[in-house]
């Protein structure tokens, strides 16, 4: 069996071809011709030492940055202009970062409603979706609470809810448990895998934690800006 399809079902949702990225006017080459792909409902762990390009690859796959060379397709469409990027971030890709990146003055509910507001989803639909996700993540009793009153684990779960609010097909997670203690990290990761399975989302996760990575369908090693993955024709 082609390892590319391990654990996944159906179509290719993400594909990168010969992607290069460098900083400081080419002085620092971070990605040196990366080929990568993921299929629907698959969980993929990107592993590798610090600076090998995991986060950069996630940013490129989610449209937060543009490659210097190479091409990227999300759900069969090549990432292109600004309008495409906004659509991508609103409907097709969700991000979870190592830091929760929530807006501290807003409540949990308001933070989670930001993507739905951006996408123009009506409030009633958005709140129904939020209730569903809050229940799944055990945050129902915290909806009206300020972010400052939440624990680290709760904040990361909130970030997870927010990333899934608009029902994206792909979740990109950059060290999602990196700022949590071991116990909380395990709880949040279990929840992440549960949600990904329930929602039918493809997860691409950058992590240093081998034990977490091994629980994913695929473990992709990155080294010195390169990934060697067979890409189906």
């Amino acid at each position: 069996m082609n390892p590319l399809f391990k654990g996944g079902r159906g179509d290719l949702v993400l594909r990168a071809e010969a992607v290069c990225k460098s900083y400081d006017e080419g002085m620092i080459a971070v990605l040196k011709g990366v080929d990568f792909a993921a299929v629907e409902r698959q969980t993929v762990a990107l592993c590798g030492p610090s600076g090998c390009g995991k986060s950069t690859l996630l940013h490129l796959l989610g449209g937060l940055d543009q490659p210097d060379r190479g091409r990227i397709w999300v759900n069969g469409r090549e990432i292109g202009g600004q309008r495409d990027l906004v659509r991508l971030l609103r409907h097709e890709v969700g991000f979870v970062f190592q830091l929760h990146n929530l807006i501290p003055d807003l409540t949990l509910e308001e933070n989670c409603l930001i993507p739905t507001f951006a996408a123009g989803i009506d409030r009633r639909t958005a709140q129904a979706r939020l209730r569903q996700l809050a229940e799944a993540t055990g945050l129902s009793h915290r909806l009206g609470h300020s972010i400052q009153r939440l624990s680290g684990g709760e904040r990361q779960r909130t970030a997870l809810c927010r990333a899934l609010m608009n029902k994206p097909r792909i979740l990109l997670a950059d060290e999602p448990t990196g700022s949590l203690d071991e116990y909380t990290s395990a709880i949040v990761f279990d929840l992440l895998l549960d949600l990904v399975a329930t929602e039918g989302v493809t997860l691409i996760m950058a992590t240093h934690d081998r034990s977490l990575a091994e629980r994913c369908d695929r473990l992709v090693e990155m080294h010195d800006g390169r990934v060697n993955e067979p890409i189906p024709a």
Partner: protein
Amino acid sequence: MIFLRLILTNLRRHRVRSFISVAGIAFSVAAMLTVVTILQGAIGMFSGILSSDSQIIVFERNVSDLFFSNVPAAAVEQISRWPMVLHADPVLFGIVSSSDHPIITCFGVTPEDARISHADWISGNRRDFAQHPDDVVLGERAAEFLAAALGSKVQIGHATFHVIGILKTANGFEDGGVFMPLAAAQDFFHKDGVSSVITIKLRNSEDVSALKSRIKAAFPNLIALEDSEFNQSYSQFRILKATAWAVGGCGLLLGGLGVANTMIMSVFTRIREIAILRVNGFSHFQVGSMIFGESALVSVFGAMAGLTIGTSFLFVLKLVPALHGYVDVTMQPFLMLIVIFLAVLTGVAGAFYPTIYAMRVRAVEALRFE
């Protein structure tokens, strides 16, 4: 709702900074409103003097100020004989000083002039006016600051005059002025045989154009204008109006710079938040609207506070006895709308650069920003 919360959150987060920005706009608006209202009131009062019981004003062509205008007595005589003219009254303006009062406006008028014949005489008899060259009539406030009463002597400029009457008038300039017989004023100001203007009332108001044409033909060095035309074209009024708007505009510019500074700080201190919004699907337009919205809110609050402060200040000025009659506090909705519009425009202009900056924030870089 979320959008409004995002706007308000930042204003509430930096309350002192927001307050200072609102105060900057408020004081600018108040300054503009006060200066423009006072000057427009003053212009209104001055034009009120000229349009007292008249429709047309005649003065020397191409003079920069009516005080320099010389209209010959022959012109007054000739014009007053024209059939279409009900009455033509020469008025000579002059400025004198007395001890403690550097500026007193003097009006050289005839006994038939409406300012004398139709005035509300507090004391004295209108029939006594112009019986003697040393006689003067004072406005009520002039009598107050000159500490003069009926029959007393007052020193005005280099001469002493006998007070034969005191008038009450709503016009600040007239109320603080001195009325002299025209001949005495001509003598006092060394303007023999001339007046500053002629104010004309017609028998039929439809004859305005005909009168203007006739004056142009008969007296090429004089110009006749309707009161409304005069208000729009008189260079001194135009200078005053321009000055008022310039002073107010400078105030608003300073307020706008305050808003710009606030908004720049606002954007710089939450670059990471802007990046979070971008990652969560906010478009450039939505980010820009949020910054503009914040600025517009500051401007609207500032404008409202400024209107309240300015109006209150004008009413206080109106109550000051020394300024009685000089401050005409008539709130003009159009002026208020202009001031609010300018305040919001200034605020929004102040947010222009910060907005562009915020719209250009690259999420991937900003997320690394601490």
